[in-house]
Symmetry: C2
Subunit: 442 residues, 2 copies
């Protein structure tokens, strides 16, 4: 394999590929690998990286590269790698493999880890259970500070997050939490139960990942314990996973608002499947707009100037509606806005909408008058604009609230769909008004 | 003040307001306060909450509520509160006050803290310096593990983040880092310089906050040290602040893409200022679309059916362009996409675009033919659609890359503006083609 070619992508501070692989952070090595062609990746995976190195790198690779790597390696190698990974990362890696392979691999692993992974695989990917790791620190409440510190000295490298220490009963119920900070400052012979905070911020195992992320953002936590219905400690979620969720959820919302789905991976067929169905749906909507125009064919035949204002009426309604809608969708996603504030928020938007619709309606009215020298046309365009904009603001504000209230994701309502709906109503209002004032327009 | 009325908003598990204020988390008390009217807020701030409680709550309040609180309190009270806050939160609070007041307050504080805050106020809000706190742990490299553990026992409550320990020279240069985990596991008499990792992930003080957030997300860090040009340790940034940045930057991008700005606070005039200017600009763009139609007035007069396809041509170009653009804007924001991949990405999009434009162009062509019974009209509409969609994909992909390359934020290009640009070109292509084929169309 031409190492020279690979070197082009190396960060400047490394002279050789071997230096880079030996010294760089796993996240940087992963970034490097993801920029390579498949044959180059294969060379690195097979010839250059040891299993312990791979164990560190894998969690930073994207789904496609993990999938490719899983196909290259033997089941035995994968099981060795998995036993060196944190359980949340291991489960993600297993998620990139076919079910049959997962079964074979788990059979090769030592019993305890395998059954742990098996259990974690059972949780919904997008729930607290799907995010959690089982490497945490929990001690019984009658241990003393000195005993726990002594244990920490020996076992700490095993746990993903040693900064919070959880206190549990003999039946694994979560009783409290303390920080290493508290432990260091404590008298050696004090028991955990007298040291811990009982007021623990925790999440249930089936909580949606977006809610989990809100809890991290709100309370500034480094980790949060996950419990089942019986309040037994099942695992912990660490803040790095919460960050990934926040980024992914924002991306998902942005994509939904543009009527595309998921991140493009450069696979042609997958990309077409993600975008084309939405476009075909929108095409139907636009043809409905067209048929509104067709149903007023005679008016248009009589006054062709009506057509000049089709773009401005269509677009401005969509723009105003999208503004209102975006504020609601994002507000609901970040938790800044809540159902309970619907009427208050709607009132704010309507008040704002009346003023903006007046200004924009008056502006376009004056423009239409001077451009076409026809005062009646000015009135038709201006009044239609006012009504359309107000309707757009009310629709843009209400629809995402309603969708959220029904339990679906408000972002799906977004952008193009509301715009198409507003287009159709706007054109209808415009031509109906023009029809009513037809005699004055001629 | 009617406590009864306030009680309506209390979470169910608290019976009285006093219970709630005594037991709830600062973040929950802040959420509660932000839902109240100003007089109710004043009552809580003046009568119910002690200065130490306020010090804990303030960082969770939004800008407006911080501003309102600063107006209620005396300079002396504020200076007492500030001395109990972490310096990054204190600086944010000072940022909500007028310059004169800040000066008075800093004069009332003890010298060291005041000059620290003064210095922090000098950094750009959206840079590493603006995010960092000066409460961190740093020790000289010749101290032993036992000495440092002994110090930690005494000073840890002061520092915001004790989980990383920074190692510095006598001139404050950053030499290395170690975790409390490493310290606990170490031999008591080993010196920090033999224990630390020299390969520290750090950021320069003027780095943009978005880059800072990327570093947290990539390397899964809990805190990152901030250094000046001389590599002297100036402060640290903690992961909770990185989370806020990630959420805020995503919100900002989403708002820009909908041509609105910043979060609405319900202040009418402020909201109008944020939305109306964009709308007026877009109005001008739409009038340009209208004048394209006007310049083909005669063709339209002859074949009124041309107007029926204005909505579909305008909308589909915008939709397709927005999809391409969204993928680029979000990819550049999260770091998944980089300048260097422009041509590769453009090629992917064009390949995808050709297929989608063929399918959509053929569909609309057939629809136009059967709807209007005019094969030539079908050809005009279909071919215009194909050209417009392809142009939309190329523009939607290239423009954000170009804006990013010029050093501006690609999100400003987004949504409505590209759409308006595509509208104008799409209409122009459509009517030009119609004109060329006029004889066949009649």
């Amino acid at each position: 394999m031409e190492e020279l070619k690979l070197k082009e992508f190396l960060p400047d501070e490394y002279l050789t590929l071997d230096d880079f692989l030996a010294e760089a952070y796993p996240a940087d090595i992963a970034d490097f690998i993801m920029r390579l062609e498949e044959e180059e990746q294969e060379y690195l995976f097979r010839e250059k990286l040891s299993l312990p190195q791979l164990a560190e790198i894998i969690s930073h690779l994207d789904y496609e590269t993990q999938h490719y790597l899983a196909n290259l390696l033997s089941d035995q190698d994968i099981s060795d790698i998995l036993s060196q990974m944190y359980s949340d990362d291991a489960v993600d890696f297993l998620g990139s493999m076919p079910v049959g392979k997962v079964k074979n691999i788990l059979n090769l692993m030592r019993d305890q880890k395998a059954s742990e992974l098996q259990r974690l695989l059972g949780y919904d990917d997008e729930s607290a259970g799907g995010l959690m790791t089982t490497e945490y620190l929990a001690f019984y409440s009658d241990l003393t500070a000195a005993e726990v510190l002594e244990k920490l000295r020996k076992i700490s490298p095993e746990a993903e997050m040693i900064y919070y220490i959880y206190v549990i009963s003999r039946t694994k119920e979560l009783l409290g939490v303390l920080s290493v900070r508290q432990l260091l400052a404590a008298q050696p012979d004090i028991q955990l139960k007298d040291l811990m905070t009982e007021h623990v911020i925790k999440v249930e195992i089936d909580l949606d990942q977006e809610e989990v992320a809100h809890i991290f953002a709100k309370y500034d936590l480094l980790a949060v314990p996950v419990v089942n219905k019986k309040n037994q400690l099942m695992g912990i979620i660490t803040v790095d996973d919460a960050i990934d969720v926040i980024e992914d959820e924002a991306t998902e919302d942005i994509y939904k608002m543009a009527a595309t789905a998921d991140i493009d991976t450069g696979r042609l067929l997958a990309s077409i499947k993600k975008r084309l169905p939405w476009l075909l749906l929108l095409l139907v909507g636009d043809l409905l707009s067209g048929s509104v125009i067709k149903s007023f064919e005679e008016s248009l035949q009589t006054i062709v100037a009506l057509a000049f204002f089709i773009p401005v009426l269509m677009d401005m309604g969509g723009n105003v509606g999208t503004q209102s809608l975006t504020v609601v969708v994002r507000g609901l996603a970040t938790g800044d806005l809540h159902h309970s504030r619907f009427f208050r928020h709607l009132w704010q938007e309507v008040r704002l909408g009346i003023i903006m619709a007046l200004i924009l309606g008056a502006t376009i009215s004056v423009v239409a008058y001077f451009w076409q020298g026809n005062p009646s046309l000015g009135i038709v365009v201006g009044v239609s604009m006012f009504i359309t904009l107000l309707a757009a603001i009310i629709a843009g504000t209400s629809i995402p609230f309603i969708i959220d209230f029904l339990g679906a994701d408000p972002a799906v309502a977004a952008g193009p769909f509301i715009t198409t709906l507003i287009d159709i109503s706007g054109l209808f209002i415009y031509f109906t008004m023009a029809n009513l004032l037809m005699e004055k327009l001629i």
